[in-house]
């Protein structure tokens, strides 16, 4: 097991290097000179040249890349990811303070997805071709086609404008993570999470429920389920013990596939609901052309995708006894 995890970690290294190369090349090939920022009538060309030397921009491409990539890996140094063009803060600090909010949003959405999607998918599979199944399948197909930013706007409208609280204002808060002065109030946080999580989770629930349905249907046709029925087990035991457990195995791989789409969805959802996470930081950074921040969040996104895939593979091995390492 441990050796498998280690092997997968080693396999992830070339992918990380590949991502970093692509990200680096995109920035390298982009038009404009990195020292353009310092250009003004009082700066002489010699001074610009000295700046290029200072930043190592006169070095060959490979050397620049290696310097940047090895620097990127030294996360224990505050200057490792450079400084924000906007406020001169170390990028690593700016990102570190945003990570928890994004993790909260993604984690809760994932939990909500699992809690809703699995029973819905099982119900549709067990009552195949019934009205409930047709309704679920139709809603899931449509729900999957509604992009999360669209859903975000509509959820914001319904939860913040149509639905009214007792004080006559919108029932749910439509922006931020907490109300003013309630920094450690969990209930307040949960209340703020309702709308962003709803808009992020619906598309995921639609996708997961469809997958769960087909996975469950496949298992229900297996011989061991027929055997369980034949020996007179009650329906709840057949479904819960024999069918569901096996139907859940392929669902694990969805986890790896979900992380990237959840991350992309979170970026936009954070923007819509002013959620103080990585996505909001990234979008603001792009608007301000704050490239060190953009570079770092892109790399971090890549790391997250790799970790998600790794997690899914390892979990798959844990739950499926047929998989040997």
């Amino acid at each position: 097991m441990l050796s498998y995890v280690l092997r997968r970690l080693i396999q992830a290294i070339p992918i990380l290097v590949g991502i970093s190369l692509i990200v680096f090349l995109i920035v390298y090939l982009s038009p404009g000179d990195p020292v353009d920022r310092f250009r003004n009538p009082r700066v002489t060309p010699e001074q610009l040249q000295r700046l290029r030397v200072l930043y190592g921009l006169d070095k060959p491409l490979i050397e620049q890349y290696l310097r940047w990539f090895t620097g990127f890996l030294q996360i224990w140094r505050p200057e490792a990811w450079g400084y924000s063009f906007l406020d001169g803060q170390p990028v690593i600090h700016k990102i570190a303070e945003r990570v928890p909010a994004t993790m909260q949003l993604m984690g809760v959405s994932l939990m909500v997805t699992i809690i809703f999607a699995i029973p819905i998918g099982v119900l549709a599979a067990v009552r195949q071709y019934s009205f409930a199944d047709k309704l679920i399948t139709t809603l899931a197909t449509v729900g999957y086609a509604v992009p999360s930013f669209l859903l975000g706007v509509y959820v914001l409208y319904i939860g913040g404008v149509v639905l009214r609280g007792p004080d006559g204002r919108g029932l749910f808060p439509t922006f931020g993570q907490t109300s003013f002065g309630k920094d450690n109030d969990l209930l307040d946080l949960a209340w703020h999470l309702v709308l962003p999580v709803t808009s992020l989770a619906i598309q995921q629930i639609a996708g997961w429920a469809r997958y769960m349905r087909s996975s469950m249907l496949e298992v229900l046709h297996q011989d061991y389920v027929r055997t369980a029925r034949a020996k007179g087990l009650p329906q709840s035991r057949v479904l819960g013990k024999h069918a569901l457990r096996n139907a859940l195995i392929p669902i694990i791989t969805l986890l790896g596939l979900t992380i990237p789409s959840l991350l992309a969805g979170a970026v936009i959802t954070e923007f819509i609901f002013s959620w103080p996470g990585l996505g909001q930081l990234t979008i603001a950074a792009i608007g301000n052309r704050d490239y060190p921040v953009v570079l770092a969040t892109s790399m971090l996104g890549g790391v997250l995708v790799i970790v998600g895939n790794l997690l899914a593979d390892v979990l798959y091995g844990v739950v499926d006894p047929r998989i040997k390492y």
């Binding site: 706007v153 992309a264 970026v267 490239y291």
Partner: protein
């Protein structure tokens, strides 16, 4: 009872029809011989959702092409006497906060979305065919190398990379948006085509072509690519849907197409400010977007089944 398709039966062909030899008539021989495209049309017609999707899509495409062509620059025209005006015959969806005709803007936005989606899908399919067919046809270390590359692109955090490309190479530039979507979205196409090519590379007819002295390029282009049409069409349909959504998201965030040009994304952004007075304005671009995505995926499903020569026709 399942009927085998006469054009596909692998059994040795009898030189004389069985009935003439006085044997029982095989049901198979009673089915009239149909060409491939006749079969495709028949199989497609059986897919009710796909036919519906095709009709809806056709209506959208006609509107998106005709309305902006007939009205010229009307979609940008602001009329101060019509600010927030009610619907009329020439503006069935009313006017917006700066007196622009919402229906005309919506048609123009749909056109922009479709054009960007199609352009991006050309890149997606192009790179997908190139990488997928070479990997699947060559196999061995070429395949290994190319697939590792696909793994890397697949691990890229798509939206972050697209946002980064757009921000570095030009916010609001349509060409940059198209290229950014295209070069990050081709992995599915490549993988599907590779899988098909791996299965086909040693098929009898491919070997026959090889034995007749056909070159690699001829085998790939003339013999194997047509057989890989079905997965290609699925990849293309999903690619259009994805590209249209990504473009709308970019424009929604303010990095794609910005006013006065019309885009489904920026119409939605704009509508957000009028939630209290005119919430229906947020619905129009949303409905068009969801219809486009749904139609593309249904159409893809239908075409995949229709184009696949191994699919049988239910009588």
């Amino acid at each position: 009872m399942e009927r085998a398709d006469p054009t596909l039966t692998a059994a040795p062909i009898a030189p004389v029809a069985p009935s003439e030899r006085g044997e029982a008539v095989d049901e198979v021989d009673l089915i009239p011989v149909r060409t491939y495209w006749q079969l495709v049309r028949q199989r497609f017609a059986q897919h009710r959702l796909a036919v519906m999707a095709l009709i809806v899509l056709a209506v959208l495409v006609v509107l998106a092409l005709a309305v902006p062509t007939l009205t010229g620059n009307t979609y940008k025209l602001t009329r101060l006497d019509r600010v927030d005006a009610m619907a009329t015959v020439e503006a069935p969806l009313g006017y917006n906060e700066i007196g622009q005709n919402i229906a005309v803007r919506l048609a123009k936005a749909t056109q922009t979305s479709l054009l960007i989606g199609l352009a991006a899908v050309l890149i997606i399919v192009g790179i997908g065919i190139l990488v997928g067919s070479i990997a699947g046809y060559m196999g061995g270390w070429t395949d290994n190398l190319l697939m590792r590359f696909v793994d890397i692109v697949l691990s890229l955090p798509g939206l972050f990379i697209i946002l980064m490309i757009v921000s570095l190479f030009g916010v609001g530039d349509v060409r940059v948006v198209i290229i950014a979507i295209g070069i990050t979205g081709w992995t599915l196409a490549a993988r599907l085509i590779r899988a098909e090519f791996l299965a086909l590379r040693n098929a009898d007819y491919v070997q026959a072509a090889r034995a007749l002295g056909a070159g690699h390029r001829r085998i790939i282009v003339r013999h194997m690519l047509p057989a890989a049409m079905a997965p290609l069409v699925v990849a293309a349909a999903l690619g259009v849907a994805d590209s249209v959504v990504t473009e709308a998201a970019l424009s929604f965030l303010g990095f794609g197409i910005s006013p006065p040009e019309a885009s489904l994304g920026n119409m939605l952004t704009n509508a957000q400010s009028y939630f209290f007075s005119a919430p229906e304005r947020a619905l129009y671009p949303g409905v068009v977007l969801v219809l486009l995505v749904l139609c593309a995926s249904f159409l893809g499903d239908g075409l995949r089944d229709a184009l696949d020569p191994r699919q049988r026709i239910e009588a």
